[in-house]
């Protein structure tokens, strides 16, 4: 069993739902984001397009972070998930530098700020301190919601199919751009997607063998579809639909 994720770039509409779901699920501190959306700009005949790529820890099969960790705080589970034991982490940040995907963040004291600076902690933060405490001076990253997976499996649920056993970001994705499942099972939803739609890994040439695959993207050797659909490109979509955009135009045109 090896858990993996497939991200359909053409479906992602940059809603940041996955980012928010992850934040809520793990009570992430204000300055930490385990899931990020990055924007990739392409230009063709003077037309600039932006394609959004949701990125998170790739849970590499040959993870450099596991190899470099001096205390074995970063370890790989039998199901392929790369996890961090915060109680063992000494905060040397070697894993942060060594990760080719830069999906690790050092949670320093400087980063440990309230959601509303100079104000008391919110109920969310107080709950997080008890339910999912984050240690300053240690490294953080996505863990594929391994707690949900473990709890779900214990209840006899199937990760990727049953919501209670599936990562929060996958559940939250309203465009259904994220799919989760067992990469070792050739009949799983993720294996089928990778096989049928030529799933690619980011920077596969590094030999890290990520467990996160992308379909309908420009990454790697496949050029099946360069761009996200127009609806997913806010740059194109928003000017016609957003009242804020028109109001902004009004204000800025007056100033200039």
């Amino acid at each position: 069993m090896k858990w993996g994720m497939v991200i359909d770039i053409s479906k992602c509409m940059r809603c940041h739902g996955c980012v928010a779901a992850c934040r809520v699920e793990h009570f992430l501190p204000f300055s930490i984001a385990w899931v990020k959306l990055i924007a990739f700009e392409t230009e063709e005949r003077n037309v600039v397009d932006v394609t959004t790529y949701p990125v998170r820890c790739n849970q590499c099969a040959d993870a450099p972070c596991v190899d470099v960790c001096p205390t074995e705080a970063t370890y790989q589970r039998d199901d392929g998930i790369v996890a961090i034991d915060a109680d063992k982490c000494i905060g040397c940040r070697y894993c942060v530098v060594a990760c080719p995907y830069q999906n690790r963040t050092f949670f320093s004291k400087k980063r440990n700020v309230n959601y509303f600076p100079k104000h008391p902690e919110t109920r969310f933060e107080k709950m997080g301190n008890v339910l999912y405490p984050h240690q300053t001076g240690t490294t953080q990253k996505c863990n594929f919601c391994m707690e949900r997976i473990d709890d779900g499996l214990a209840k006899g649920l199937k990760p990727g199919i049953d919501k209670d056993a599936t990562p929060a970001c996958v559940n939250a994705c309203q465009a259904r751009a994220l799919t989760f499942g067992d990469l070792d099972d050739p009949d799983s939803n993720v294996s089928k997607l990778i096989r049928d739609r030529k799933g690619t890994q980011i920077r596969a040439e590094l030999g890290t063998d990520p467990s996160v695959y992308y379909i309908d993207s420009k990454i790697g050797q496949y050029y099946t579809s360069n761009k996200a659909p127009k609806e997913a490109q806010t740059g194109h979509y928003m000017p016609d639909k957003s009242s804020v955009e028109n109001r902004a135009k009004e204000i800025f045109s007056k100033k200039t």
Binding site: V55, R93, Y94, A98
Partner: protein
């Protein structure tokens, strides 16, 4: 950093050079200086040089590393038998060998001191025992010093994320520069305390500086065709933001000035103390500049290929 730039464009590594990361830079410089000085001093039998080298590692390099850690009190977790990470992790190996060096180096300094300054007061068998122990400790101390000197280079060269560092040449460049820096410092120790053949040390320094030029040149040349990101790092170093520091700090102060002074001494049969001090200071400044430059131009390979 905005979403349009983060790991889409080449991104500088900051963990080991900005803010607290400056501690790593300083620790690596003192690691080179300390181990270089210890190794050269041990090789030519200069006790004070070895003692200074050991003190630099134990009193400066190790504390700097510890301060940098997010959880310094847990440092013991990086040492065997509490971890088996030394099998794959260069930083774990570094912790291990630095700690060993602190212990073995201390014992070696005691035995060497006894051999050098107290041998008249020791009886035959005791003298033989101490001499044998000193030899064993010198071998072990030398080995742990070499490993302490070289692990920083391997630690960086292991990072696939930074193509400029990801080459086998880097540990050799760092090791060679460290020994050359150690020699320069030992000349200083010799000027202060005597017991050092300065002319011999200068001739070795000349050779090492020439080797340094070849190694750094090869390293930079290699990086220009290794990958686009490594090439960008080289550009940053040679003509970019770090160019001034590289050309003035590394090339002129670190290599050219000490080499010219050394060649001057070779031609005239020796140079004045003031010129030697200038050479030592410039050489040491070059050591600081070289590490800073290498760390500062570490650029992550972008995630998406255009």
């Amino acid at each position: 950093m905005v979403t349009h730039e983060w790991m889409v464009k080449p991104m500088q590594q900051t963990e080991w050079i900005k803010g607290e990361g400056l501690l790593i830079w300083l620790a690596e410089v003192f690691s080179s200086l300390g181990t270089g000085l210890y190794l050269v001093s041990m090789f030519i039998g200069n006790w004070w040089g070895a003692a200074f080298g050991w003190a630099i590692i134990v009193l400066i390099k190790l504390p700097l590393h510890l301060i940098y850690l997010g959880k310094p009190v847990r440092f013991w977790r990086a040492l065997p038998p509490f971890t088996g990470a030394w099998r794959t992790s260069w930083i774990a190996r570094g912790f291990f060998f630095s700690t060993l060096f602190a212990g073995i180096g201390f014992l070696q300094l005691i035995t060497s001191y006894l051999m050098l300054y107290q041998n008249g007061e020791m009886a035959g068998t005791t003298l033989t025992t101490v001499a044998g122990l000193d030899l064993i400790l010198k071998i072990l101390g030398g080995f742990t010093a070499i490993m302490t000197a070289i692990y920083c280079g391997f630690m960086m060269s292991f990072c696939k994320s930074v193509p400029f560092w990801n080459t086998g040449l880097l540990p050799i460049v760092i090791m060679n520069a460290g020994i050359a820096d150690g020699l320069a410092l030992l000349i200083g120790v010799g000027m202060w305390g005597g017991g050092v053949d300065i002319i011999m040390l200068e001739s070795v320094t000349r050779i090492l500086l020439l080797v340094n030029i070849i190694l750094i040149g090869t390293y930079l040349l290699n990086s220009t065709y290794q990958s686009d990101t490594a090439k960008l790092s080289s550009k940053e170093l040679l003509v970019g933001k770090n160019a001034l520091l590289f050309w003035v700090g590394v090339v002129i102060l670190g290599i050219a000035v000490p080499l010219i002074i050394s060649l001057l001494g070779y031609r005239t049969g020796g140079v004045s103390h003031s010129l030697q001090i200038i050479a030592i200071v410039c050489h040491t400044m070059g050591a600081f500049a070289l590490k800073y430059c290498i760390l500062n131009v570490g650029i992550y390979k972008p995630l998406l290929a255009k």
